[in-house]
Each structure stands twice: as structure tokens, then as C-alpha cells.
Amino acid sequence: MSALFEFCLRMGDNTLVLGHRVSEWCGHAPVLEEDIALANTALDLIGQTQLWLGLAAEVQGEGKSADDLAFLRDAWDFRNALLCELPNGDFGQTLMRQYLFDEWHCMMLNALRSSTEKRVSDIADKAIKEASYHLERSRDTVIGLGDGTTESHARMQAALDYLYPYVGELFVADGHDEAATKAGIAPDLASLRDGYDAALSATMAAAMLTIPDDKFAHKGGRTGRMHTEHLGHMLTQMQWLQRAYPGASW
């Protein structure tokens, strides 16, 4: 399959899976204003999914739609980073996950604005505006809770400790990534790391949080080699209607 197709899946599955996770909060957030803000984030991510998976389906050329890709692939065909599929946990874990993703997402989208593939740069142009706001909000919340009460600090540190081992995967390239870089579609993932680390350090310093020393990185999501157990459960919900009533139009 082409590098472009694979690349679109990786972008689109990230936003699909993370958007789904964030949407789980709707009606359950700590305060109304946060409930509304989380729904906006989820809506943006779902909207971006339609663009990425729409392009993936177009590139694939088998007459499928973004919905077909979202609802009719099994877990091994998903190409999202593991970070995106991890459970929401408490609000702190959700916002920490969001921040760790947003920081990467913004760097990625910014680089993609100069992609040689116009359809990719078009999506990036639109998505970067949304992602920049997500980042502003998730960063402020991580800082606010990290430097809040003793309890909120402890919870945020626990969230960072749990999630940090899932950050490394975002920067590890495989053959598909290298092909996309070579074709000028996407940046070299490793080249984003320094900027990311600098931003992360600044945020965590402001949040009074300590970045774990261990640089071990879980991986397998972006390549599809091995997801977490959590993804399957998400898909059983997300895909249930499409699977139970094949061929129906909704």
C-alpha cells in the first residue's frame, strides 16, 4: 500500500481514537465549562478524522468511505499511536494525554503545511488552527492542575508517569514513515523530537512536575504490530451498529 495511504491512516486513526476517547467525557466532566470545551476538542478531532480517512479512502481507490475505514477495520489495521487509545482515567490523565498529543500534533501539522502533497497540506492548514487551541488549553490545564493543590499535583504527576512511556512512539519512524519523508509528504519524525522535548520541559517546569528519567517507549500502535487491550473494547462499542447491521444506511 502506498506511503500516502499509510500516512493518512496514521494521522486519521490518531484523531479518530483520541476524539472517541474525549467524547466519552460528554456529560461527565468536572464542571460545565470543561464539559463544553472537551466536546469542542472531540468535535474538532472527529472532523479531522473525516478529512484524513476521507483522503486515505480516496488514495486507496477501492470505493470505500471514511466511515468504512473507521467502522469496518479490526484492531490490527488501526495505525494510531498507543497514547491515543489509552483509557481516560481521571480528568488529569485525560488532559495530560491531550497535552502530550497536542504538543506533537501541532509540530507535525506545522511541518505538514509544507508537504509536497497538496491534499495533505490543505488538511494541515485547517487542522493546525484547531490543534493550536487544543494545545493552549491542555497546556494551561496541565500547568494549573500541576501547580494547584497537593492532590491535583499528585494526580498530575501520576498521569505523567503513566503516560510518558507512550510518548517515544510518536517519534519512531518505520519504512512507511521513511518513504513518506522521502516523497516529501511528511517530515522526518525524529527531527521533531528536540522541539518537543524543549516544549515539554518548559510546560512541566511551570507545572512543577517531574519528567521521568527512563526513556523507555512502548510501541506497536502506529505500525499495527501490537495495540493495547484497550483498543479492542473501544472498537466493540464504536463499530457495533455497523457490524451488527451490515449494509444498513444510517
Partner: protein, 94 residues
């Protein structure tokens, strides 16, 4: 019950370059979060270009019973309103 976030009044300038208009209120821990919350709560349908937030307790309001003295003087100055003047139709739009 722990302490409630302060209440903020939200003013938004819409897309047509008009003045900021009061659109409603919300709760937020500080002014910066109030602006962010206002963006999420009050511009979900693209309503805003610029947001002002003021903590509700800092707003001083006129007393309704002063309505007479406060507003009567301006009510008598009808010439401030454009429709006070009859302009002949031949003059065109003014």
C-alpha cells in the same frame, strides 16, 4: 462544598465590527480561563471575533429606581436621533 469559581460576564464583538455586546456569563478560576471558556461556550457557532471578560463583582450597575433622573435628560434630546429630522426624499439616502 468547596469554593465556587468566580462568575464572569462575557462581552463579544461579533463579525460585523460592532461594539462588544454582553452575551452572558460563566464561571472560571481566572481571567485567562474565562476567556478560553467564553470561546468554548459562547462562540460555538462562530459568533465572535473578540472577547472581553469582566468578573461580575466588578460591575457596578445603576439602580432601577434612578431610572427617571438617569435617563430622562437624554429622552428630551430627541434631536440626537436621526429620525428627528425630516429630509426631503429628493435628497437621497442620508
Amino acid at each position: 462544598m468547596s469554593k465556587e469559581w468566580p462568575l464572569w460576564e462575557i462581552f463579544i464583538r461579533g463579525q460585523h465590527g460592532l461594539s462588544h455586546r454582553h452575551v452572558g456569563s460563566l464561571h472560571a478560576p481566572d481571567a485567562e480561563m474565562a476567556i478560553k471558556n467564553a470561546r468554548d461556550v459562547y462562540t460555538r457557532r462562530n459568533e465572535g471575533q473578540s472577547i472581553w471578560v469582566v468578573e461580575a463583582k466588578h460591575i457596578s450597575a445603576s439602580n432601577p429606581s434612578d431610572k427617571g433622573p438617569m435617563y430622562e435628560p437624554s429622552e428630551s434630546k430627541v434631536y440626537r436621533h436621526p429620525t428627528f429630522f425630516d429630509i426631503p426624499e429628493d435628497v437621497g439616502a442620508m
